[in-house]
């Protein structure tokens, strides 16, 4: 039986930890890490217990998992029907996300005990991590669309704090500002979308809103008939909500913040920008999936197109980057694109809902191996003290544990059986094949490119050149607090592929039996192996093949290396156009006209007072004259003018 209290504990424990470490962390020093990790451990255990209870012991109606409202209380009442409630909703995706978020956060906490050791602001880091975990858990448990927005912004704030953790580095500060501003800008669309949807459905609660917009009700009729510029209000609302999700998930064209966000410490990149925050957009679309699928197919097409374009785009750029964290960042963008377009090609109910299940499955497995990849990269950076691939090579002899776990993760992401990525990718490809052949084609090509750049990364770090350790006091590979999460995550990357995900998570709650098409799986695996072989040929031993290839594609290579100039275009639009045409005139008006008016008032007052001051001259006869004149005036007034 699901009890409300301990579910409330799951997000509240990290929140209490945030407050505790934020207020008293300085005095606790290294002990704050232990506190943070312990509270996360309890949260993770509670989440797993909740998942167990939900998936195995809860009541199923007609064989479908039910949305259970664990608790709900009214926070702000706008009108009789519309109110912002704070509550927790349990359904398959939110329970799954609970497990993912708390578990990955726990791994990152354990890892940070070793990675951030010796850092002066150690306790601050852990308090921010707890704040983030609280925000993310609040987001996934949200039962009300405004509550999700609140926690959405909180997650953005935590990300801002953590990216800019090394605040004395101007690049980190700029990156954190960029992340916050870009996602905030996208959230404007999210807010407008919320308002449109809430207006027509007359509620802010998820369950009621979905019900009103998917079944034949007056709300649905109203929202689909009201149109603006040729698209129905429902399309606009969902598209705007999707824009918010695209911003947070670094989809085209809001992706510019994700590579720069790598300025933050590596555990942060692992937690936020790989496994949890960036999937918030996918989660949002999954939350509103019934509305997308049943009432607004156009919106779903938009989701699919944005997803597949982002996926291909990021994969191409990742082939040219030399900073290992940026390669992983673009890889994340590409994989989230996969999740997005998997949702986009999905239908609702039964076999049609395969895309939904596949997307959620990929989210789950991706969290595991992407976190592993980032933590492994962190171990490498910790060892070499540099992020660039040219400083690395031949590290397999010096960092054996990292080497093996990194290899496992690369195999998983490339989609090689029997690792986890294979199963989830295969389901995605199968779903897209049945829906849209073009998307399927692009997806297979992207899978091949994924395998290529991941193994380019792997070989460049661990093979390629010979490594000569320099420096006298060179430490060993990594402390055990850093190795333990690597091992756990590697084990999971192997195992989780075998979970029959369709049993638990599907678009309508019913069990989905996904069949395993052997014939179907062969093509993608072959493409992936091909990519691996090409990478091995180019990067296993140091040679000039890679250089020759990049020279032959000179123009295209330069464009991809410069991330297709997106940053430059945005900079031109904001600085060149908005600042100069709008910002400067407004600033001029403010300084000269508004301020000038105030200054003029002050100067006027000063001048008047300077004129009046000599009246008090200190001379007796002057005062006497004023007095006498006043008396005469009063006499005249009272005798003649007063009636």
């Amino acid at each position: 039986m699901i009890d409300a209290i301990y579910i409330a504990l799951i997000p509240l424990l990290p929140f209490a930890t945030f407050l505790l470490l934020g207020l008293f962390g300085k005095r606790m020093g290294n002990f704050s890490g232990i506190i943070g990790t312990t509270s996360l451990f309890v949260s993770a255990c509670l989440s797993i217990f909740t998942a167990y209870q939900y998936f195995f012991n809860s009541e199923k109606i007609d064989g479908a998992y039910q949305k259970i409202i664990a608790f709900k209380f009214v926070w702000l009442q706008f009108s009789e029907n519309v109110s912002i409630d704070m509550g927790a909703i349990l359904d398959p995706i939110s329970v799954m996300m609970l497990v993912v978020v708390t578990f990955v956060s726990l791994m990152v906490h354990i890892y940070s005990l070793g990675y951030m050791k010796g850092e002066e602001r150690f306790s601050v880091f852990f308090s921010f991590l707890s704040l983030f975990t609280f925000s993310m858990l609040g987001l996934v448990l949200a039962s009300n669309i405004f509550q999700i927005y609140i926690f959405w912004e909180l997650v953005g704030v935590s990300s801002f704090l953590l990216i800019g953790f090394y605040y004395d580095r101007p690049s980190a500060v700029a990156a954190s500002k960029k992340a916050f501003i870009v996602t905030r800008f996208a959230d404007l669309g999210f807010l407008i979308g919320i308002l449109i949807l809430a207006f027509y459905s007359g509620t802010l609660d998820f369950g009621i809103m979905i019900e009103r917009l998917t079944t034949q009700t007056d709300s649905l009729v109203a929202i689909t008939s009201a149109s603006f510029l040729g698209l129905s209000a429902l399309t606009w609302g969902l598209a705007l909500v999707f824009i918010g999700g695209a911003g947070k998930s670094a989809m085209l064209p809001f992706h510019i913040w994700l590579p720069d966000a790598m300025e933050g410490p590596t555990p942060v990149s692992a937690l936020i920008h790989a496994a949890t925050m960036v999937v918030a957009g996918v989660f949002l679309v999954a939350r509103l999936f019934p509305v997308f699928a049943l009432s607004c197919p156009v919106g779903l097409e938009l989701v699919a197109v944005v997803g597949i374009c982002s996926s291909l785009f990021a994969a191409i750029i990742a082939c040219t980057q030399t900073d290992i964290k940026r390669v992983l960042a673009y890889s994340t963008m590409s994989q989230i694109g996969y999740m997005m377009f998997a949702l986009g090609v999905s239908g609702y109910g039964g076999e049609n809902g395969l895309g939904f299940t596949a997307s959620m499955f990929h989210l789950f497995t991706h969290a595991m191996f992407k976190a592993l990849l980032f933590l492994g990269a962190g171990a490498v950076i910790h060892y070499i003290h540099s992020n660039e691939m040219k400083d690395m090579g031949g590290l397999r002899k010096f960092m054996p544990v990292t080497h093996i776990t990194f290899l496992i993760a690369c195999l998983a992401i490339a989609g090689i059986p029997p690792f986890a990525g294979f199963f989830s990718k295969e389901e995605i490809l199968s779903a897209s094949f049945h829906h849209n052949k073009i998307i399927f084609g692009i997806a297979i090509v992207t899978a091949a490119i994924t395998a290529f750049y991941m193994f380019r990364l792997y070989f460049s770090i661990f093979w390629n050149k010979e490594y000569h350790p320099h420096g006298e006091n060179h430490h060993g590979e990594a402390p055990s607090t850093m190795k333990l999460p690597l091992l756990i995550l590697a084990l999971l990357s192997i195992v989780v592929g075998f979970i029959p995900f369709g049993h638990y998570v599907s678009s309508d709650g019913l069990e989905l039996h996904s069949e395993f098409h052997l014939m179907f799986s062969i093509a993608p695996v072959l493409m992936a192996v091909g990519g691996i072989l090409i990478a091995m040929m180019m990067y296993k031993n140091s040679n000039i093949v890679s250089q020759k290839v990049s020279e032959s594609f000179k123009g295209f290579y330069t464009a991809a290396y410069n991330k297709f100039y997106f940053d430059e275009i945005y900079l031109f639009i904001t600085k060149g156009i908005v600042f100069n045409l709008i910002g400067r005139p407004v600033a001029w008006i403010d300084k000269n006209i508004v301020d000038g008016f105030m200054n003029m008032l002050a100067t006027l007052t000063e001048n008047i007072s300077d004129t009046l001051r000599p009246i008090q001259s200190g001379k007796l006869q002057g005062y006497a004259i004023y007095f006498f004149t006043g008396v005469i005036a009063f006499v005249l007034v009272f005798i003649y003018l007063w009636n």
Binding site: Q621, I625, F628, T629, I632, V635, L636, I639
Partner: protein, 172 residues
């Protein structure tokens, strides 16, 4: 035109001309003397109105006391000989006009007012009556103000001494 009328006009002329000269004289000593003439004229007016006691008090206190005091102070401040500075023209014109205007206004109002003399029996202002009235405590008795004024005179005397006393450090 009886003799008393003529005498009244002469006395008024002395008063007003003396006053005018007192306020416009350039030499300070002459101004004091003109004031003296004006005050004597006023005493004459009191005699004309048959209020002899007040006339006597006026001469003794004002002429014999205050004007003498003023002349002493003129000597003490070393200003006796030279011409005084004349006032600024603007101020003189403005004050003159204001004074003339106010005078005209006041006199106009006085002319318009009806005064009602009392019908009761006249009380002669003889010294006997004055004395009886001043030192009685019944209605219309002025004993209390009399005592209060004597206190005031004492305070003024002490105040003058304190203000004008030369302390050890001041030069003489």
């Amino acid at each position: 035109m009886s003799a008393s009328t003529v005498i009244f006009y002469i006395i008024s002329a002395v008063i007003l001309v003396g006053a005018l000269l007192a306020v416009t004289a350039r030499k300070i000593f002459r101004a004091a003397v003109y004031l003296l003439f004006s005050l004597i004229g006023i005493a004459g007016l009191y005699f004309f109105l048959n209020y002899e006691f007040i006339a006597a008090v006026q001469i003794v206190v004002y002429v014999g006391g205050i004007v003498v005091l003023i002349i002493f102070s003129i000597f003490l401040t070393h200003e006796s000989g030279s011409d005084m500075k004349s006032p600024a023209i603007g101020r003189a014109i403005y004050s003159g006009l204001a004074a003339v205007f106010a005078f005209a206004l006041t006199f106009f109002i006085i002319n318009k007012t009806e005064f009602y003399p009392t019908q009761n029996e006249t009380l002669e202002p003889s010294v006997r009556n004055i004395g009886l009235q001043m030192l009685s405590t019944t209605e219309h008795g002025y004993l209390l103000p009399f005592e209060a004024v004597s206190m005031l005179l004492l305070a003024a005397m002490i105040g003058c001494i304190v203000i004008a006393i030369k302390t050890r450090t001041q030069t003489d």
